[in-house]
Symmetry: C2
Subunit: 364 residues, 2 copies
Amino acid sequence: MTGFDYAARMDRARRELAEREVDVLLVSIGSDLPYLTGYTAMPLERLTMAVIPRDGETVLVVPELEAPRVEAMPDVFRIQPWGETEDPIAIVAALVGPAQVAMIGDHTWSSFLLALQAALSDTVFASARPLTESLRLIKEPAEVDLLRRAGASADTVAGLLAAETFAGRTELEMSRTVGALLESNGTDVAGFAIVASGPNGASPHHEPGDRVIGEGDAIVIDFGGKVGGYCSDTTRMFHVGEPSPRYHEVHEVVLAAQRAGIAAVRPGATAASIDAAARAVIQAAGYGRYFIHRTGHGIGLDGHEDPYIVAGNERPLEPGMAFSIEPGIYLPGEFGVRIEDIVVCTDEGSERMNRSPRHVVIVH
Amino acid sequence: MTGFDYAARMDRARRELAEREVDVLLVSIGSDLPYLTGYTAMPLERLTMAVIPRDGETVLVVPELEAPRVEAMPDVFRIQPWGETEDPIAIVAALVGPAQVAMIGDHTWSSFLLALQAALSDTVFASARPLTESLRLIKEPAEVDLLRRAGASADTVAGLLAAETFAGRTELEMSRTVGALLESNGTDVAGFAIVASGPNGASPHHEPGDRVIGEGDAIVIDFGGKVGGYCSDTTRMFHVGEPSPRYHEVHEVVLAAQRAGIAAVRPGATAASIDAAARAVIQAAGYGRYFIHRTGHGIGLDGHEDPYIVAGNERPLEPGMAFSIEPGIYLPGEFGVRIEDIVVCTDEGSERMNRSPRHVVIVH
């Protein structure tokens, strides 16, 4: 990732540390590290960890064999490689020093945290999530631009899927097709492609499998990838042959709920109110108990991040927040319907990152 | 994953808990959970956690919307779904109860561990790795069979790559080609494909990028995926046009080191001795300081797991242990060479899971 002002982001992190009276921020795998340094750690057993003191130099502790991957950024951090027979926990502990208050990145493996707690027995550890969430929550214009490009690539794929033959192919084959289409249409790295056909559509996080898609199947396709590090995530509905009146009814309810959720987005509205707006439509239609998940999740460098669009989250939306609106109705043993767009809160309301048609697409 | 005796594995886990005087094992994302239950948790922000008491019933705490993914196994665990507005930490804490000694899975997010430590302030937490390592270290015959099948699929791809045109294509294109070939030749899910050309080959964990491969490039291709949940991982060398005498010399040294490492594998030999056997060959040839990583890593459900083939690891090998032998020489600014097979320790010595030719493959 280039084009971002990492030094400015690091300064913001330090100001947050000072405000929270925290001495040091420890960041390992996940999206906080690339957000702050441009470098993504490999999610493996060799520890990579940025030690970011409130006052003083940031040090990126990195396995020696991965040091050539790191793009040097002398104004943001220095690199400290460790060899295969060294102990990276001891190196980090020495950099932290005694008796500190430390925040540690969300996705850091628990085994590393336990080892650091043992090595730094007088240090108090807390989750860095409140801090990193606050840094990453409002997207810069360049970040929104990448979300827009990621969304446009996914929309292109949604359009191309209408020309695919579904009947006779397995969910897994279709899932791989979606991945290949993403990577040949502007997405850097395909991330995931849920293809849930017929009764499998009633499982929101269905793992695409050997089920052969056939005539009369409704198919949920929920997919995304990354452009410049930023995620896409959209869900569209396909149907082999003409859907039943019952399918059409459910689809219309979900689409109305999704539109209602999007229409409710504006600065000052709470995350919970967006969930409530979408849910009310489904409840009014009598399907409330079949909408078994929250309405959405934030998105950015992570596919799921703050803000979560869920009952109880009273956070007011602000311009630059990016999140999904994805209500669904799941009828066990029958089918499921979900429709999902990414939206960004704007001064006036919202901008959709996804523009492909939301009606059910009839396929062969 | 089917065909494994999960009840027997759970019994072994409980015996290990008793021997270590640990009250409860907590397992979340990563490979320990599918090893014990057949179920793989989604690596997302909604907590999935198996609570495995030394005495008593195992409970799989799982997000409600993912409960339909879980294959019920009444003799192994029961399912406790949690709804979107419930607190999964409180649910797990109630299942654990007060004042316990708990072990927690390696890859569990640090934020979940910190929340559990806060909710269970009288409980002592330790890393589950010594326990889960001991469970997973010796592969059952059915596990070795899956490693064999995964290796055979990767070998097929290594053979097919010889017919590809390299010159004029980017590393990223070639990396995607490797992934597609894996999935069309017996691998369930492509995992990774490092394609490091020319001077990029000197970076062992190079991220395939926009570099266009050209005449005279040596190319390291290190790739793998999963079959039935078990990983493949092999590295072969390609070269556009005839290599230089210097390239041939380095390749021969690496191949001799890799053969020496494999030849040293037998029950009772230490992991460190395998590393030493391979390293001695490279050192004797005068390239010791260019072999900047350990000789190998264990493999199974995880791409990297115990045993690590590294100086200092005095663990004696036993039949059923599976690991890579992958020495390399990395010449900054010039090229790199790495050759990698997966081997399984047998009663007599070892069995290679990879059989594709290890000479440099000349391509266009």
